[in-house]
Amino acid sequence: MLLTGNHAVAYAVMLARPAVVPVYPITPQTPILEKISDLQLAGEFEVDLMTAESEHSAMTACITASLTGARVFTATASQGLLLMHEMLHFASGARTPIVMMNVNRTVSSPWGFWPDQTDSLSQRDTGWIQYYTESAQESLDTVIQAYRVAEQVMLPTMVVHEAFYISHSLEPVIVPAQAAVDAYLPPFDPAIRLDPDIGRSWGNPVNQELYYRFREAVGGSMDTVPALAVEADAEYGRAFGRSYGIVERYRMEEAEIAIVAFGAMAGTARVAVDALRAAGVAAGLVKLRLFRPFPIEAMREAVTGVPKLVVIERNFSPGAGGILHQELKAALCGMDGLPKVHGYMAGVGGVNVSPKRIEELTREALAEEPVPQSVWRR
């Protein structure tokens, strides 16, 4: 089918069979909500669609429906994600395997509607697994994989793609058969749930010792995610013929520099790498697909032997710089043969970063010594 990224997500949601979908409209997420509504009206998707009065309530209802044993989904963007912030922490603490699509959009102020990853990256400490995708097909496939991983570790999972580049661009997308998805993703049927016959409660106040133990347990589960994500992706590949890994190496043979990117930027960087290789520059791409937990081992393995890395970013944390740049340096710190790492904040605010611009920035990084800070390069 020819689908936009957002419509591809709606089909993935239908295939995953959530029972309850509380959602609130926000640009550029709304086509997901609208498509789910259309599929429900057409009788193709049997689901309880709750038209919440805010994203905060949508996330709250996701949490309690999940605690009651229902598979759930919601979608949001930008301000909506920020409004959910309190409940994002609550969701991971409550061990609810919610799957949410976030469509990256600039956060106010000033107002903007453009692709920028700062909305979801600023939620990195909320205890959610985060995937970033590069195409409509990858978004569809990742939503299905996300349910599998989330329900294995009982942690909420955010799948993220960027406004317009992915959300509203039409691409040929293969929509898997329902029976195949059912075989891949068993029904959600947790033994512990809110039920008078079970008699368990959730969330009453705890002492310091218990709180520590709850957080430690969340951390322990997070630590298992990279291996489970690799396994879920590999099995998806066997069932559907498409897999992505959690860290992908593209044209990395004897690379003297690797571009490190995630989301739609990775797609643009592929084109730049092809051009650089054609021009005789030994450049490759390392694409990060799983951002939380940060796959430290896989990333170290992917860049081993590469003398230089250049991170091209579409996000910004004031006072810290490009967020992937900072996260990458922290992940590599102390490794043998530590690569030099350049960080360019090129696409902040949705400023277009063309393949040619990535080529230029890669050549600049090759020619110069890196500074510790991320650098503005529009």
């Binding site: 029972a19 009065e53 709250t60 309690t64 009651t68 044993g69 809110l194 409660s201």
Partner: protein, 295 residues
């Protein structure tokens, strides 16, 4: 000892909870949860109710409780009910027990949204007219001129009429109740329990500490709230059919104020002003009954 009420209590609420001695709210929780019964899942936001419900691993109630966030109770209840329905468990009641801060103020958006969608729940607001769990600060429910920790000179504006606000959503059932009239309270909870859609009950629960009352005063002061016309006990069905169950007996409001430290600073002029406000509210309420169809 004379018992002046008859309630069929399910034994869901247990003794040994953490409420202050003489707490009006603990009494209300007992009547509400024992009437709702054990086939119930409760949502409790941060409030005195959360303390009464218990600290992990203890619980004072024999039902599952979700301790949610302060502003989200109605949305939390909606999520539970929808999940239950998706599993074919329609028979389980979903109950919110929230304070007035979590209802009139920060929780109002979620409550109004749930009412607009006619979500299937019983929402009980335990109204002690302030943020009593955090040390008695003013809320949207605090009465005009009452002294609180954040309005020590007296609150300059009035109490929201939450029953009328909820009735304006045209939900199936709205009621007011208080612990001094336990039969009326339990009857209303039972009636709400056996209905469908959004049901809302606001229960006036005198606070020993926040109102400045002796430990044995909660029930008596709640009866005075009704008999003075400060807090009439009513039902509103489908937003239009008003019934007054217990109302003003013409007792002067001064009798209600004199036992409470929060009104101790009032001048005779201020008391006269508040009497006029109560009289106006009482006649407005009677006009609602007369205007609507009898019920």
């Amino acid at each position: 000892m004379r018992t002046n009420y008859e309630i069929d209590e399910a034994g869901v609420f247990l003794s040994g909870h953490h409420a202050c001695a003489g707490c009006g709210e603990a009494l209300a929780v007992r009547y509400v949860i024992n009437t709702m019964g054990s086939r119930t899942i409760a949502v409790v936001p941060p409030s005195c109710i959360a303390i009464i419900a218990g600290l992990q691993p203890n619980s004072s109630m024999h039902v599952p409780i979700v301790h949610g966030t302060l502003e989200s109770s109605a949305a939390a209840a909606a999520g539970i009910k929808r999940a239950l329905v998706s599993q074919g468990k329609d028979g389980v009641n979903v109950l919110v027990m929230a304070g007035d801060g979590g209802t009139y103020d920060i929780g109002f958006q979620a409550l109004s949204g749930a009412a607009e969608r006619n979500e299937d729940m019983v929402y009980v607001c335990m109204d002690n007219e302030g943020y009593m769990n955090t040390g008695a600060q003013k809320s949207g429910s605090t009465p005009h001129l009452a002294s609180t920790a954040s309005t020590p000179g007296g609150k300059l504006t009035g109490k929201k009429n939450i029953a009328e606000i909820m009735a304006a959503h045209r939900i199936p059932y709205v009621a007011t109740a208080t612990v001094g009239y336990p039969d009326d309270l339990a009857r209303k909870v039972a009636k709400a329990r056996d209905m469908k859609g959004m049901r809302f009950i606001v229960v006036l629960t005198p606070c020993i500490d926040g109102w400045g009352l002796p430990e044995n005063a909660a029930v008596g002061i709640s009866r005075l709230a009704v008999e003075t016309g400060v807090f009439p006990l009513i039902e509103v069905e489908d937003g239009v059919r008003y019934t007054i169950n217990h109302g003003s007996k013409g007792v002067p409001v001064e009798r209600y104020f004199e036992g409470q430290k929060r009104f101790r600073h009032l001048s005779p002029e201020q008391i006269a002003q508040l009497q006029a406000e109560v009289d106006e509210g009482w006649s407005l309420l009677q006009s609602r009954v007369e205007c609507g169809p009898t019920g």
